[in-house]
């Protein structure tokens, strides 16, 4: 643990890296200086607050408090995923169900198989990891779905005109959208260890854990993200596609 030498003063010195981004933005006239500053300030405040909250939750070691953290993370992720589905009715509700089910099943499997313990220092960060990945997956699903319903509008109409049910008329779109949600996770799995040494593993190695043991945790994270993004993508797509049709099984924007 003695190797962890980040302090307030080293962080302040590290701020020079933000200046690099600001200088690039200024030289290239990107007009992103305001966004960078707001982003950095928000990150510092949010992470500091979360740091203190986590310290409190871990110290309290209370099951209800741990569950409350789970609920807050899931709600927040759903709200953000819902925003990415702007244009799809009930996107928040669909995201909430998808993230809740995806996160719960994955967490329950990890706890029941003994991979992690039901203690706040394990449940809260793992919930955050799962929910954020499902949130990104759902966002990609929604974006793909909105795009493909526009691109394949005529094809969906023709399938409906041939007497197809809305599911059959949307099957290609559904498959493509589910795939688009899962693809980044699958792609990142392929390059694990070769290109990236992901967060979980890097964190443990930083903390002085034997890399071979750290790898086992990373493999567990890989399994859980694969499962949770699959569940989240399937649920959000199957709930989402129905919103493109009315009760007469007609395309809504037609």
């Amino acid at each position: 643990m003695s190797n962890l030498t980040v302090s307030n003063s080293t962080l302040a010195l590290g701020f020079v890296l933000v200046l690099v981004a600001l200088i690039i933005g200024y030289v290239e006239k990107l007009r992103i200086d305001k966004d960078i500053i707001i982003g950095v300030v928000r990150a510092i405040i949010q992470l500091s607050l979360v740091g203190y909250v986590l310290k409190f939750v871990i110290k309290a070691n209370d099951n209800w408090l741990t569950l409350a953290c789970f609920v807050i993370i899931v709600l927040n992720a759903s709200w953000n995923a819902g925003k990415r589905g702007n244009g799809i009715p009930k996107a928040f509700q669909s995201s909430l169900l998808a993230i809740f089910v995806g996160t719960t099943i994955t967490l329950a499997t990890l706890v029941l198989t003994g991979s992690i313990k039901f203690v706040p220092e394990q449940i809260v960060p793992v919930t955050g990891m799962i929910a954020s990945n499902v949130m990104v997956a759902i966002g990609l699903c929604y974006r793909n779905m909105m795009q493909t319903y526009t691109d394949r509008h005529q094809q969906v109409l023709e399938k409906l005109a041939l007497g197809a049910d809305i599911k059959l008329a949307s099957l290609d779109i559904l498959r493509d959208s589910i795939k688009s949600g899962m693809q980044p996770t699958i792609d990142s799995i392929k390059t694990l260890g070769l290109v990236s040494l992901p967060g979980m593993m890097s964190g443990l190695i930083f903390a002085g854990v034997d890399p071979v043991k750290a790898i086992k945790y990373q493999i567990m994270v890989t399994f859980m993200l694969l499962a949770s993004t699959s569940i989240g993508s399937i649920i959000s797509c199957y709930l989402g596609y129905k919103q493109f049709f009315n009760d007469r099984k007609q395309l809504k924007d037609d």
Binding site: Q154, Q155, L157, E158, K159, L160, A161, L162, G163, A164, D165, L168, D172, N246, R248, K249, Q250, D254
Partner: protein
């Protein structure tokens, strides 16, 4: 002859724009009715309402005396089929397109039946496994029409399906539609084609969203 459609005081409006205004007409079973009128007059909108692809703002459409909104939409569209002016072929091969009507009805693909239908539109059995990118515009339209007709509906609505086709392709489509009409299929044909209008025995004209004559 029995009335297959009874349209009563039908209005269709998008925002403030009235596209169909108080349409009232009856269509008899077995007819080959040609629907004519200037572009933007509301012909296609009326046909799409009859096919239940969109719903009217107000008014009634009865199919066999029953309001079309009381039918289950997918079952209704298997009875009243709509063919588009510029159809798209699904998937990679012609097979996927001709298998689709079987898939809709949860039936196994009947290759013999498909070959028989392909021959009806002057296409041989090799077409089944042809890539959709390798068929011409005329062949594409013929294949698309077969998707509508493999399981004979009661009504076929064709929305300018021969527009852009050459004389040979038009003749093949006309022959096929005539044969189906003689077998009892009611056909509602939207067209701007002079020769099709001239050869029609039953026509209705729609102008500014209103029926001019029946």
């Amino acid at each position: 002859m029995e009335k297959i459609f009874e349209v009563k005081n039908l209005f269709y409006q998008v925002g403030e724009t009235k596209i169909l205004k108080d349409i009232t007409l009856d269509i008899e079973q077995g007819k080959y009715l040609t629907v004519i009128g200037p572009s933007g007059s509301g012909k296609s909108t009326l046909m799409r309402i009859l096919a239940s692809m969109i719903s009217a703002t107000s008014g009634e459409v009865l199919f066999h005396g029953k309001d079309i909104s009381t039918y289950e939409p997918t079952e209704y569209r298997q009875k009243v089929s709509y063919a588009f002016q510029q159809p798209t072929l699904f998937g990679k091969t012609v097979r996927e397109n001709l298998a689709f009507p079987f898939e809709v009805r949860k039936q196994a693909f009947d290759e013999d039946k498909v070959i028989k239908y392909l021959e009806m539109v002057n296409l041989n059995q090799d077409y089944i496994d042809k890539s959709v990118n390798d068929v011409s515009g005329g062949e594409k339209q013929r294949i698309a029409l077969l998707r509508n007709l493999l399981f004979q509906p009661e009504v076929l609505i064709t929305d300018e399906v021969t527009a852009g086709l050459d004389t040979e392709n038009k003749a093949i489509v006309h022959k096929m539609l005539n044969e189906f009409n003689q077998r009892g299929l009611t056909i509602l044909r939207v067209t701007h084609d002079e020769s099709e209008i001239e050869s029609s025995t039953d026509t209705i004209t729609i102008k500014n969203g209103e029926v001019q004559d029946v």
